[in-house]
């Protein structure tokens, strides 16, 4: 589904990603871990098309197409979804209007007519229940005054409604209490199937107890320095990152 090859990217002239290689197939869940500043969120930003990032080398192929050639909205319509680490508050745009616009833009891209009002309501209600999203928040301004947990749940609600092929969850677990974490994880587990894939960026092993990954990658200094299975996450929880940093620098100096 997604092939990242030798990806180098910089932001404001600073090299952040220094040769990322990653293959993601449908049905897989990948976890990306790593210390602060290793480039995890930058990778998510590059995939979603955030404009202040410049790709200097390498390529990203998504479903056979050059992802880097696409505008952010085209990537979304092709099936890329980024759950934001810090969802944006937009006063004056209601949550429901936003969702309706997004859903209908996706449909238009697929050559489908806008959803009928009644069908849309039914669809929204169904997805709302999936992530236990408070119906009272639907008519409020997008994310405005939402708690941290409500914002993250809103991200998962959008994910549920847009049905992307590849979802990137950027520290969706940060700022969530155990109950909210369970709700969000349950949502993701219900949404995963053999056709879609997930990339979870996280600092903590905790999330991976709820959403079990097929692969765990450790990102350090703009590169994937180790790949393993879910056991790697447990090892990191126990030993921290220092052993990997040392091994990396040892290799660098050779």
């Amino acid at each position: 589904m997604l092939s990242i090859r030798n990806l180098h990217a910089e932001v404001e002239g600073k090299q952040i990603l220094k040769g990322i290689n990653l293959e993601i197939n449908r049905g897989e869940i990948h976890a990306i871990m790593g210390p602060n500043g290793s480039g995890k969120s930058s990778l998510a930003s590059v995939l979603a098309g955030r404009e202040n990032y410049t790709v200097t080398q390498g390529e990203i192929i998504f479903e056979g197409q050059d992802l880097l050639e696409m505008a952010p909205e085209v990537r979304a319509r092709e099936g890329i979804f980024l759950a934001f680490q810090y969802p944006v508050e937009i006063p004056g745009v209601s949550n429901i209007t936003f969702l309706k616009t997004a859903v209908n833009e996706m449909r238009a891209y697929k050559g489908l007519p806008p959803m009928e009002a009644r069908d849309f309501l039914k669809y929204t209600k169904e997805k709302q229940q999936l992530v236990s999203f408070d119906a009272n928040l639907m008519n409020r301004s997008l994310n405005e005054g939402f708690s941290g947990g409500e914002k993250k749940r809103n991200e998962i609600l959008q994910l549920a409604m847009l049905e992307p092929k590849l979802s990137i969850l950027d520290e969706t677990d940060s700022g969530l209490d155990i109950d909210a974490l369970r709700i969000v994880s349950n949502g993701v587990n219900k949404l995963r199937n053999s056709d879609n894939a997930f990339v979870m960026i996280t600092h903590y092993q905790r999330l991976l107890e709820y959403i079990v990954p097929d692969f765990v990658h450790v990102l350090y200094n703009g590169q994937i320095v180790k790949t393993g299975t879910k056991e790697l996450a447990l090892e990191l929880e126990e030993k921290g990152y220092d052993w990997l940093k040392e091994a990396y620098h040892l290799k660098e100096s050779v």
Binding site: R50, P72, E73, R75, P87, V88, I90, G92, F98, A102
Partner: protein, 436 residues
């Protein structure tokens, strides 16, 4: 101050005055002559005048204009572009300021008078109020209108009468192969405990000619009366509009003035002057200007707190595209005896082009010590993170920008209490935001 600048337009008016003046007895002749003397003394303003510092009105008076008091013929079909879908309202149509009975649907309610100002001239109430609520001494255009107005509307709502539906007042302008100078004059009086809503709009049907409109509306909102005025300025390209709105409020009255200036008239200057003559009044002045191309929009507001315990709340927001230019002046005067005044003012702008320009100046003069007054000014561009967020959900760039402009305008549009008018404005805002 004597007029040092004589322009062809000024000379045309001054030389033509004896012929333009309708000297019919009872046609406010002393008032007109006095106002004309005042106009000649003031002259047409240049950018040296404080009130016109950022608006060079001379640029918009360069073309030759013909003093045009006569109404052209307009048919129902021609009014279609100005219809507001779903608006349940009475309708009053003025063509070049002149009342069109055949195109109007008036309320058949006892206590509501709507007639041409000229027809109402002999009424003692009109004689008492006309020209008494504007600052002729420093307003050359209002003075010029007072001297030579033709057409316009007298509206009176008697005490305790609540007008059940809004009045849609449509100002139609016509010209044929000539530029027309049109000066309508309105006087509206809402008596004690009465309530009225007016939705005012403009339709420029000019054929090969530019319209220059210099209008004046004087309104008196009596004790405990409520008046809502929605002024929709979405006239055709090239049109030039100068309007002076003077409102006087008596005690416990409530006044809601909405001003929407949208494309495409090339020049708009609105003077809004609200004088609070009674205690415990409420005044809401909300403005939204969306300007594109080379439009120039100037809003000049003045709130005069003359009595204690009054609340005034002013919010003007602007979205400027292309090489559009806007000016906002917000003057608040709090008289020494106007204790317990609450006066708020905010002007916020979204500049969506490098060539767009905003000049904003609050002018607060506070002579009372127990008051709450504030003012603020902001100017910004699109929030890039918000734009990216919307696009990352598949919403195209143009639609995303539209959503953000709609969100910016929401503080104003949300307060429009007539749903059909609200929808109409929102859809016009969307049409205006085409970013090149």
């Amino acid at each position: 101050m004597t007029n040092e600048v004589t322009t062809p337009f000024y000379n045309y008016i001054v030389d033509g005055f004896p012929g333009f003046l309708d000297a019919t007895p009872g046609n406010f002749l002393p008032l007109r002559e006095e106002a004309f003397t005042r106009f000649k003394t003031l002259g047409l303003p240049t950018t040296k005048a404080e009130d016109w510092r950022y608006t060079n009105v001379q640029l918009f008076l360069k073309d030759p204009f013909t003093f045009s008091p006569v109404a052209g013929t307009v048919t129902e079909t021609q009014l279609a572009p100005a219809s507001i879908v779903g608006l349940d309202a009475y309708r009053v149509v003025l063509v070049n300021g002149h009342f069109q009975e055949n195109l109007s649907t008036l309320p058949a309610i006892k206590g509501v008078t709507i007639e041409p100002l000229a027809a109402a001239a002999t009424r003692p109430l009109v004689q008492e109020h006309l020209g008494q609520h504007i600052h002729l001494q420093d307003q050359p255009f209002a003075a010029l209108n007072t001297a030579l107005f033709t057409g316009g509307l007298f509206i009176e709502v008697a005490a305790n009468v609540i007008v059940d539906k809004p009045i849609y007042l449509l100002n139609v302008y016509t010209t044929t192969h000539k530029n027309a100078f049109i000066q309508p004059r309105n006087l509206w009086i809402i008596h004690t405990n009465a309530a009225l809503e007016i939705v005012e709009s403009v339709l420029d049907l000019s054929d090969n000619g530019i319209v220059l409109v210099n209008g004046v509306t004087e309104t008196i909102v009596k004790e405990n009366a409520e008046f809502s005025h929605y002024n929709l300025q979405m006239a055709a390209k090239d049109g030039r509009y100068i309007h002076y709105t003077a409102t006087e409020q008596e005690q416990y009255s409530r006044y809601h003035h909405f001003n929407f200036t949208l494309p495409a008239a090339s020049f708009t200057r609105n003077n809004l002057s609200v004088a609070l003559h009674g205690n415990y009044t409420e005044s809401n002045m909300l403005g939204l200007y969306v300007a594109n191309d080379a439009q120039h929009v100037d809003n000049h507001t003045f709130v005069d707190h003359l009595r204690p315990n009054c609340n005034s709340n002013e919010l003007y927001k602007g979205v400027l595209l292309d090489s559009a230019k806007a000016v906002f002046t917000g003057r608040i005067h709090v008289n020494q005896i106007a204790q317990k005044t609450n006066a708020f003012q905010q002007n916020s702008n979204l500049l969506l082009s490098d060539k767009a320009d905003i000049n904003s100046q609050p002018q607060l003069e506070i002579y009372a010590d127990d008051v709450k007054c504030s003012h603020g000014f902001t100017v910004g561009q699109f929030n890039q993170e918000a734009l990216f967020y919307l696009r990352s959900r598949g919403i195209g760039e143009e639609a995303a920008r539209n959503m953000l402009v709609g969100a910016f305008a929401y503080d104003i549009t949300d307060q429009v209490k007539i749903p059909a008018v609200q929808d109409y404005i929102i859809s016009h805002i969307e049409e205006s935001i085409v970013i090149n």
